[in-house]
Amino acid sequence: MSDPILELSGLTKVYSGGLKALDDVDLTIRKGEIFALLGPNGAGKTTLIGAVCGLVRPTSGTLRAFGQDLQSDWRQARARIGLVPQELSTDMFEPVKHAVEYSRGLFGLAPDPGRIEEILRSLSLWDKRNNRIMELSGGMKRRVLIAKAMAHEPDLLFLDEPTAGVDVELRKDMWHQIDAMRARGVTVILTTHYIEEAEEMADRVGIIRKGRILMVDEKDAMMARLGRTEAHILLAEPLAALPPEIAQFPVELEEGGRSICYRGGDGTGKGREEVADLTKALIASGIDYVGIDVRESSLEDIFVSLLGDEEGEAA
């Protein structure tokens, strides 16, 4: 396992109104990874980011970044952390380059026109450097926020819902930007409720709900462990009951016996092999079929299923 870059232990936040936004969160982020924190609205994602970045005062727990205590050695640690907020919060009257230079200076770094140019070019903002931020499109504004967060060359970058409300094209473009950050060695923690985003980008995934981390795992391992294959086989003639050689598979009859539904596997492809065996067994049993629809479960299915299980337990 790589060195931990961020370690949260027993992190709890109770707001003055009594809302427990974070409930005893333990989380370790590894250096160089892209970590996706998934959760529905109000799950505590932004509060968690706020606690690390100094926007929220934790009620209890410890936070360590780069091996330093974030509450006592906050200056050194914060100088290496960047944040791209969810809201488009910036001085809209300010020219792009001016805003990015300010961010670099605010974090205590000497002016470096070459570095600022490099950042602006990498985000396709160089041509807009003298434009006021208010003159840019929504997507460009979000890029400015990324440029501001990158201006002090952070080692750990938080992206809070980086693609919320942006169109598909821009979302894919943003994914390329995040990939480029990883290539530069930046550890990225992104929160999102677009599961597709986590599926596309993340090395590891954490699922948070009501301030509690429900699960943290490698994305591929999580999908292998919790993933399923689902196949629908449309029969040529309806069946009244499944013969024993077919019933040994994890199947059931649907649509009044007109189709067989298979649910099994583990997300590693084992399910597809079993579906192939099932079709052979059907032919061997003289059961004809006219169509097959096979689908691997997505991270979204896992996410929904996990949250559903949690709801069930709570009830």
């Binding site: 926007l55 929220v56 919060s89």
Partner: protein, 255 residues
Amino acid sequence: MIFNARSAWSIYRRELWRFLRTAFQSVLAPVLTTALYILVFGSAIGDRMPDVGSVDYGAFIIPGLLMLTLLGETTSNSSFGIYMPRFTGTIYELLSAPVGVAETLVGFVGAAATKSLILAAIILLTARIFVPYDIAHPFFAFVFILLVAASFSLFGFILGIWADSFEKLGIIPMLILTPLTFLGGTFYSIADLPAPWDTVALVNPIVYLVSGLRWTFYGSADVSIWVSLGLTLAFLFTCTAVIAYIFRTGWRLRD
């Protein structure tokens, strides 16, 4: 104590840039208002008013009018400086930066105080066009204006953190500072008030500021310059302590 000079300089420079960006509103408007006061009360009506002590009435009101503008503009500039980032959400950047109370104060309050000094210089030069006056103690005048600008920048900073609406932001300068300055001897000497109002007036803290500044201009005032200086310094330290407490507890800054 660690002090990040680059961070402080960045905040300071940006705040001044913001000031220059809105120079028409932030410089011209207060200068024009003060110039009108001086023109009407100093030049037009002042000729028919008796001297106050040995000072011509037109010249007598200049320190008070300068204080009136200085207090209002300094408090407003400083309070807007910190309130706007809170209102628009851009304060996230300041709070997530390796920046403490010292850098924040040097940046925001220093910039607000600088704006006030620029404004004061322009007002004094403009006043010279309408009313002849001399400054008896220029060094003390500079120090006193600097102290008032710094302390009310700090006060405005507290106001900007306390306020949770634009209405609250305007209440203190409009409903408290301006009336207190008008009643604080801007247009008259406290000594000329009938008893017991000459004593009651001393409860008004602005009296000490107007009086202190007037002393630096003409060498005489309603209260001792040392009392004025002492109270101004006490106000400055109190505001600094309050801001240090706000940063330590995160009141209205961090959830």
